[in-house]
């Protein structure tokens, strides 16, 4: 074999190999039977996460319904649940142009992922189908949109996040009903402290910031801060509502109304005192019922648990956090795969599926559902009760995470313990919290 022929053969082989390799990542992914296959990174089975487990079961139902046309293929993903690493994981995949066809992100993560330019925009699909778009509650897309009207995600839920309370502990402290003002709440806290109990169980992160949002949001102008000016990254200490809320929350720690281990950032540090009935209240979303309240960890506690909106600074000034939570996003650009993605998100926002999800997880539907169907579905009464009550409350506001910068969680966990223990004053705490949280938004 001559040198020229050898060279030609090697070049041709290399070219064929390269073409085969590059071909792996391009074009529509189809099965042997011609189904369009889309990958889902948050549809895996999970014995501990009811949302993932519901997604898995819903994906199986989708596969049955659309057999022959579309099929969801589950990717086992260690970063499927909420974690600090999840955003980085998807950012790396975005840089490699290798995002899954379907996955879920929360509003803060969507804001960060927007910059990669790799997320699919659902706005044209919603515009093309007015009935589908109108089926969602108002503001359901608020935290999921881009600056030019893009819709980066289809919401999976819309929840009111309130405060769980132990009715027996409250009755023992002389309270037949959950307090309706923060002053009453502190009266309750004093009594409970005298009985060796904590008024509220917090964790230094999610639950603590929920209470912070409640204290801010139930003041005039508080909702505007949480929904808007928190994103401006000006010194949050300039806002008197934020200062009052921050100082009041710190005072609860100093007065011993809060569990002593409320700084780790691990929600289990908040759940444990409530489940062991050392703490009378804990703030969290409807999923707390499935993940903690009805588990073997707390037999009989569900029956004596109530769920209430946050007290107010004045009579009649109660409020609650309302969030749309995680949404379905897509990283594919292939036309046929996008058809499958479109079919999937419509399937997931159908009445049957949102009710199935509500039954499985306690999360409330992001779309309007027939009252008769809701009644028939026998949904979790604690969760549905609060979302219905939320419509009549004086205040409704987002969690600080929704519009706050992505660095808020890290900065809060770092600075909050030092502030509570007196190493920082309120001005310095809020100024540094703003600056440190903002560093991720530069």
């Amino acid at each position: 074999m001559g040198t020229t022929r050898r060279t030609t053969l090697v070049t041709a082989s290399a070219t064929a190999l390269l073409a085969a390799v590059t071909g792996c990542g391009a074009g529509t992914d189809t099965s042997d039977s011609g189904e369009v296959v889309v990958t889902c990174a948050t549809c895996q089975e999970s014995p501990t996460d009811p949302f993932l487990q519901y997604n898995y079961e819903a994906a199986q139902r989708f596969n049955q319904k659309f057999a022959g046309d579309y099929r969801i293929e589950t990717i086992e993903n260690a970063n499927a649940g909420s974690s600090d690493d999840r955003l980085q994981y998807y950012q790396r995949l975005a840089l490699a142009d290798d995002l899954p066809d379907l996955f879920q992100l929360n509003s803060g993560e969507i804001k960060a992922m927007e910059r990669t330019g790799r997320l699919h925009d659902f706005a044209p699909s919603l515009e093309a189908d007015g009935d589908w778009a109108a089926s969602f509650y108002d503001q359901a897309f608020d935290a999921l949109t881009g600056p030019d009207g893009q819709v980066w995600a289809i919401p999976q839920q819309r929840d009111a996040i309130g405060i769980y309370y132990n009715k027996e502990l409250l009755e023992a402290a002389g309270f037949e009903q959950f307090p309706t003002t923060w002053d009453e709440f502190e009266d309750l806290a004093v009594t409970l402290k005298g009985q060796g109990k904590f008024a509220v169980a917090l964790d230094g992160d999610w639950a603590t910031k929920l209470m912070w949002a409640n204290l801010i949001g139930t003041q005039p102008g508080g909702a505007e801060f949480l929904g808007d000016s928190i994103a401006d990254l000006e010194d949050w200490g300039d806002d008197p509502a934020v200062v009052r809320a921050t100082e009041r929350l710190r005072n609860w720690h100093l007065q011993g109304y809060v569990n002593a281990d409320a700084f780790s950032g691990d929600f289990q540090n908040a759940a444990a005192p409530f489940l062991t009935e050392e703490a009378a209240t804990v703030p969290n979303g409807p999923w707390f019922v499935k993940t903690n309240l009805t588990t073997d960890a707390a037999p009989g506690l569900y029956e004596k648990t109530g769920y209430a909106p946050a007290p107010g600074w004045a009579d009649g000034g109660q409020g609650t956090v309302v969030v749309s939570g995680a949404g379905w996003v897509s990283g594919t650009t292939d036309e046929r795969e996008l058809e499958a993605v479109d079919a999937f998100v419509r399937f997931m926002s159908s009445q049957d599926e949102v009710l199935a999800q509500a039954e499985a997880t306690g999360a409330n539907p992001p779309v309007r559902v027939d009252a008769a169907a809701t009644d028939a579905a026998d949904l979790e009464p604690l969760a549905t009760g609060l979302i219905e009550q939320a419509a009549d409350l004086e205040y409704a506001y987002p969690h600080a995470r929704v519009h706050g910068p992505a660095g808020l969680d890290t900065s809060w966990k770092n600075l909050w313990p030092a502030y509570v223990k007196g190493d920082l004053d309120t001005d310095e705490f809020l100024q540094r919290l703003t600056a440190d949280s903002a560093s991720s938004a530069q």
């Binding site: 600090d84 955003l87 980085q88 950012q91 790396r92 840089l95 960060a112 910059r115 990669t116 230094g204 569990n259 002593a260 281990d261 700084f263 780790s264 950032g265 691990d266 540090n269 444990a272 005192p273 660095g407 890290t410 966990k413 770092n414 600075l415 909050w416 313990p417 030092a418 223990k421 190493d423 920082l424 560093s439 991720s440 530069q442």
Partner: protein, 342 residues
């Protein structure tokens, strides 16, 4: 018979005959002046410059040898050289993964202007000092005692070594429960003794000490190193010392300890290199808080990475590398690692 040889089985091979001081270099007997300097050293250098007969690769074998080296070179290049070059280059750039712009020394200027960087540096050095001045000496002391083979020494050695094989993450979770101010063992014991408890991990006054307390007692690796080294010391040395009337304490401090110089230096070096990159323990216990009281350089770099400041994170990484190099050179010199003790 010395206490150090009493329980030891007889050596299967005779102990090597010590050679006069300075008569051996790193490559074996070389002759020349006892201090190894002068014309003899020049002759050694000249001898080393000539290829050793039989070590040249025959002409026809160079291709296969090169091919056999290729996998190693590819792995080295992929997993060390390329990342190292990327780190070095991007330390001088604003890089978020999406945007890239050369920025000269800006990352280093930003680092030096940031008080959190200095907190992280001080904390990292604090953890390193805890290893050097507590963990290694404790390990050496326990290793020397266990080398005496007291009753139950094998069980003790196993118990001491077990924490070393537990993952840092699991260890951190155990200690986060141990330090828990509401239900943790430490506060419960203190309460039982009538002493006040506190939030050890989230109080700026105690957080750094509490983190150091989780790893300074993981001495299994040092103990095993020391025991192995003590076992290799020729028993004749102790027998000669016994004949000369040296007490056990004198044998311990005048013979064993100096002969452990190499292994102590190695243990310190390994610990220092672990400590300057310390991440998982701190990340799980405190995430660097409160108010950066426990943050390390590695955690500081990780936060920058989370914030999308990849170039800045790599600049911090380059500082960690430089500190590591300085420590390697310093410890090798101070402990004369590699030079024979006998």
């Amino acid at each position: 018979m010395s206490v150090f040889t009493r329980h030891r089985p007889p050596a299967s091979a005779p102990a090597p005959v010590p050679e006069p001081a300075g008569a051996r270099g790193a490559d074996g007997p070389v002759g020349g002046r006892p201090d190894g300097s002068g014309p003899a050293r020049r002759r050694i250098a000249a001898r080393r410059a000539r290829p050793v007969p039989g070590t040249r690769i025959p002409l026809g074998m160079r291709g296969p040898v090169a091919v056999s080296l290729l996998p190693g070179l590819v792995l080295f290049g992929t997993f060390f050289l390329v990342p190292f070059l990327v780190l070095t280059a991007t330390a001088f750039a604003r890089w978020s993964g999406l945007d890239f712009a050369w920025s000269g020394l800006d990352n280093y200027r930003q680092m030096l202007a940031d008080p959190v960087f200095f907190k992280a540096l001080v904390n990292t050095l604090f953890y390193a000092a805890a290893s050097v001045f507590v963990q290694v000496p404790l390990g050496v002391a326990v290793g020397m005692v266990l080398a005496l083979r007291p009753r139950g020494w094998k069980t003790l050695r196993t118990i001491i070594f077990v924490p070393f094989v537990i993952s840092g993450a699991a260890y951190a979770l155990v200690f986060s429960m141990f330090y828990n101010p509401r239900a943790g063992l430490l506060n419960n014991v203190l309460g039982g003794l009538g002493l006040p408890g506190r939030d050890w991990l989230f109080d700026t006054a105690t957080a750094r000490w509490a983190v150091a307390g989780t790893f300074v007692f993981i001495i299994g690796f040092v103990v095993v190193l020391v025991m192995a080294e003590v076992a290799s010391i020729p028993r004749e040395v102790y027998e000669a010392a016994s004949v000369d009337g040296a007490s056990t304490w004198q044998q311990l401090t005048r013979i064993t300890l100096p002969l452990l110089r190499n292994v102590i230096g190695t243990a310190i070096l390994i610990r220092l290199l672990v400590d300057i990159g310390m991440f998982d323990l701190v990340f799980i216990l405190t995430a660097g808080g409160p108010d950066d009281a426990t943050a390390t350089l590695a955690l500081y770099a990780y936060r920058a990475y989370l914030n999308g400041e990849w170039g800045f994170a790599n600049a911090v990484g380059s500082v960690i590398i430089v500190i590591g190099l300085v420590l390697i050179v310093t410890v090798r010199r101070v402990f004369r690692i590699g030079e024979r003790a006998l």
